[in-house]
């Protein structure tokens, strides 16, 4: 069966390392490397992936800024507007871990991690994705509004709407995610929306909820 990817699955695939035993990233990594069927990627998802790669770079830079200058305040930085509480938590953990190290050494370590992470995702985009689908300006606002009414965030709605539109005139594919927002109960609830009754739903494959 073909697969349509949510951003989360690709990000966790990029995060996998055989040196670390984390089930979620391992599941995403194995699913993608043991490729079965065609891989579809929404243009919106591709944009989101790029945004998150950049955000990850900013997280590392913010930590480095603080290591170089202890009085540097994350909240006052030019980048901070786009970072959220979860990003802040990662930044604090990294800062605590590396605050006593030489900035040059830290930059090399952070960069090693980021570059390897990015290269794996770039490899996915170059060699694994068979088809880019649903340009951002083709996303149907009416369908997006219906999904939004079912409690999904704007970003999740953009991804789901892209998946639903890609599903039209295609055999049922997997909607592959690694994100607790796409829980099976909520997805079943969405299927019950009468306005979506005529639609063929992709089959949800969410690694967060797999045993």
């Amino acid at each position: 069966m073909d697969s349509f990817f949510d951003t989360s699955a690709v990000i966790h695939y990029g995060s996998y390392s055989k040196l670390i035993n984390i089930t979620l990233t391992k599941r995403c990594y194995e699913y993608i490397t043991n490729k079965n069927g065609k891989f579809l990627l929404g243009y919106y998802v591709e944009e989101e992936i790029k945004t998150r790669l950049k955000k990850r770079r900013i997280i590392f830079q913010e930590v480095l800024n603080k290591v170089i200058n202890n009085s540097y305040e994350f909240e006052k930085s030019n980048f901070f507007l786009n970072l959220n509480e979860r990003d802040k938590t990662s930044m604090k953990k990294l800062y605590e871990k590396y605050k006593n190290n030489d900035p040059i050494k830290i930059k090399k370590i952070f960069s090693q991690d980021q570059v390897t992470f990015e290269m794996r995702i770039e490899k996915f985009l170059k060699f694994f994705v068979d088809e880019r689908v649903i340009k951002i300006d083709e996303i149907k606002q009416e369908l997006l509004s219906i999904i939004k009414e079912n409690g999904y965030s704007h970003a999740d709605c953009m991804v789901l709407t892209s998946a639903f539109q890609a599903q039209e005139e295609r055999k049922v594919f997997y909607f592959v995610a690694a994100d607790k927002h796409f829980d099976p109960n909520g997805y079943d609830f969405l299927k019950d929306d009468l306005r979506l009754k005529e639609r063929i739903f992709p089959e949800l494959k969410n690694f967060v909820f797999e045993d």
Binding site: T7, S17, L19, I20, I22, T51, Q112, D113, F117, A178
Partner: protein, 341 residues
């Protein structure tokens, strides 16, 4: 409003307009006010000055135009008449000193000699950091004629200082002179930039290139300028990736071009920052009237060169596994539950 044209010759009116534009660009209303005349009278003279290439229109919208004096300074950054005279005297004296030794200074030498004299004697002349180090704001073009009747009070002291400096630097080539200049004024970022460009041009030791790039990266002025961070990080990552896939040496020219373009963009910000520290200038006005479009152009050039290198890397990227190193494990552990949402 009394019309100035009633008592002044056209030449005098034009001179008044030029004087009004000495410190910063002005719009039509401001020019009229400063020379005490109405715009319809002044307009013809402004057009003539544009024709004579003494001023230019720099911002033209439906509603407002600004007029800027064309000067012999970088980006038409304004200087006073006294500063212009002193710059001419200084440049001319340096050039004459070289001529005594049957030489003509290179632009870099003239710039560095002038900066040294200005700094040593604390002359009231504006200097700022730009692409190849600290520069006098007036363009030090050794092929131009700078002779002047102006003689400053400390002319003899200036001449003696020039003679001594030329003697000190006589054995140095331009690269050595630049390096010595960066060390003398303690600008580590410029030293690192020069070493990095040198290492990339040689490309004998790829790891050394990355080490130099990391040191340069750490010194870059990111926190005030997110755009510099974005482009520098992109180039640093791409160089790193090319090194990992073993293609850095193959694309050293493209890497060097990207770095030089990036440096010109960073240097344009250095210019803005160092000029803003001089009391006679206002940062917002300098950005609006003098450096804004130059910074944008340099950013676009850097963006293009770095995008080109990124596309080269992507086309070279092989379908093989990339794994983190042992010392990166703890970072990955912390970041493994991060999905960027």
């Amino acid at each position: 409003m009394a019309d100035v044209s009633e008592r002044k010759t056209p030449q005098e009116i034009k001179q008044k307009i030029l004087e009004a534009l000495n410190s910063k660009p002005l719009n039509a209303q401001e020019i009229s006010k400063s020379i005490n005349s109405n715009w319809s009278t002044v307009k013809n003279y402004v057009d003539e000055l544009i024709e004579e290439k003494k001023i230019k229109e720099i911002i033209a919208t439906d509603k407002i135009s600004y007029y800027q004096k064309i000067t012999e300074t970088y980006y038409n950054i304004p200087i006073t008449k006294e500063q212009e005279n002193l710059f001419k005297f200084l440049f001319n004296t340096i050039i004459q000193e070289y001529k005594k030794k049957n030489k003509l200074p290179k632009k870099t030498e003239l710039a560095k000699d002038a900066v040294d004299v200005i700094n040593e004697l604390k002359l009231n002349l504006p200097t700022a950091w730009y692409i190849y180090g600290q520069i006098p704001i007036m363009i030090p073009d050794p092929t131009k004629e700078f002779s002047t009747t102006y003689v400053p009070e400390n002319a003899e002291k200036i001449k003696k200082t020039i003679t001594r400096l030329l003697d000190t630097y006589k054995e140095m080539n331009v690269r050595e002179r630049e390096q010595s200049h960066y060390v003398k004024y303690g600008n580590h970022l410029y030293q690192l930039k020069q070493e990095l460009i040198w290492e990339i041009s040689l490309m004998k030791n790829e790891k050394k290139v990355l080490n130099n790039f990391t040191e340069f990266y750490i010194k870059c002025p990111f926190s005030d300028f997110p755009q510099i961070f974005d482009l520098t990080e992109r180039l640093y990552s791409t160089v790193n990736k090319l090194l990992i896939i073993g293609s850095l040496s193959k694309f050293k020219i493209e890497s060097m071009l990207a770095l030089e373009s990036l440096w010109k963009f960073i240097a344009a910000y250095q210019l803005l920052e160092s000029i803003s520290k001089i009391p006679q200038y206002n940062k917002n006005e300098i950005l609006q009237f003098n450096l804004g479009s130059a910074i944008e152009t340099k950013r676009d050039c850097a963006e293009e060169a770095i995008s080109n290198l990124e596309s080269i890397y992507l086309s070279e990227l092989p379908n093989k596994e990339f794994e983190i190193l042992e010392d990166t494990k703890e970072v990955r552990e912390i970041m493994s539950d991060w999905d960027g949402e």
